[in-house]
């Protein structure tokens, strides 16, 4: 990503904390839109004229991975975790750990 081309302008002078705001967030926006399009195509490849179906495990794993990547992008760039203290990043990670344990814990592994 051409993220820091606009940030080197000495007239801006906002310091490092928010420099990414000047260009990077539009790249993130573009990436989010493209990943959303990919997400829509994966379960229904006919939308773009493909005549095959992806296997079910591939669909599930790739969709969850894409969702996590998009989630990370929003949190990292839009919610400014990129410029945040490690303590805030740790706080932000807590619900993910929680949901991981919860989902694995109550998932009907042995047939409910």
């Amino acid at each position: 990503m051409a993220s820091h081309d606009a940030t080197s302008d000495p007239n801006e002078g906002w310091g490092w904390g928010f420099d990414f705001l000047y260009s990077q967030y539009m790249w993130v926006w573009l990436a989010l839109l493209i990943l959303t399009l990919v997400e829509v195509v994966i379960p229904e490849p006919e939308i773009i004229g493909l005549s095959f179906q992806f296997s079910r495990p591939f669909v599930v794993i790739s969709l969850i991975s894409l969702a996590l990547v998009k989630t990370w992008m929003v949190a990292w760039y839009y919610m400014h975790l990129i410029a945040e203290r490690p303590s805030i990043i740790l706080i932000a990670c807590a619900p993910f750990l929680f949901s991981l344990f919860l989902t694995i814990g109550i998932f009907p592994w042995n047939g409910g």
């Binding site: 904390g17 705001l21 599930v60 400014h80 109550i106």
Partner: protein
């Protein structure tokens, strides 16, 4: 680190600090963590109900159809655009360009309203046409009623968050318009942005799990 010093300099204009961030921001993060865990509970319950053997769960793609998924994909697109326009608000405010910040704020609010409008349209269609058995015993359920129940709980709980976010954003807009929020009050807008981006973030997960998988 230089990055932390800069964000601290902007933050120190309002509120006391603890853990190196303003209390306002820490409070919002604490709320968001709580909120995220609520969503995690709903999603985990959804996973259990759906993948219990014999749950008679339809593939969402087949249940909602092409148009249903594409309409929601458009809604996702609108929410992401609304999220990036919120980033614009903060960026313009930090540049001191309050007129532009106000315009972007209006755009953000508009995006949230369009999202809610499309969701309202979708709900109306689902309740009236697709799942009539929810309110009328004369109809027989086509598949697991849990499919509709978890759908309404997850999208409804998220839609409530969008509604609150729109109200929150309107308040920020009024503050910007009346001049109560100046170019120095970046923390106020940043904290409002945290909430709005979180709503976007949760929708990415809900959209994936409820509509696509």
């Amino acid at each position: 680190m230089a990055s932390q010093n800069a964000s601290l300099a902007a933050d120190s204009m309002i509120g006391e600090e603890s853990l190196g961030v303003t209390n306002g921001k820490l409070g919002m993060w604490a709320f968001l963590v709580m909120d995220a865990m609520t969503f995690a509970g709903l999603l985990a319950g959804y996973a259990r109900l759906r993948w219990t053997p014999g749950s008679d769960w339809p593939l969402p793609i087949e249940a909602f159809g092409f148009t249903g998924i594409q309409l929601t994909a458009l809604n996702t697109f609108i929410l992401i655009c609304s999220s990036v326009s919120m980033v614009h608000v903060l960026a313009e405010q930090m540049r001191g360009n309050m007129e532009r910040a106000k315009k972007w704020m209006l755009f953000t609010i508009f995006g949230g309203l369009v999202f809610l409008g499309i969701q309202g349209f979708e709900w109306t269609h689902l309740i009236m046409d697709m799942w009539p058995y929810l309110f009328d015993e004369g109809y027989e359920a086509a598949y697991s009623v849990n499919f509709a129940a978890t759908f309404f709980i997850l999208t409804g709980f998220h839609g409530m968050h969008v509604s609150v976010g729109v109200i929150y954003n309107v308040i920020i807009y009024l503050g910007l318009r009346s001049g109560k929020i100046t170019k120095d009050d970046t923390s106020v807008v940043e904290i409002a942005g945290l909430y709005w981006h979180f709503v976007d973030l949760v929708w990415i997960l809900v959209f994936t799990f409820v509509y696509l998988i």
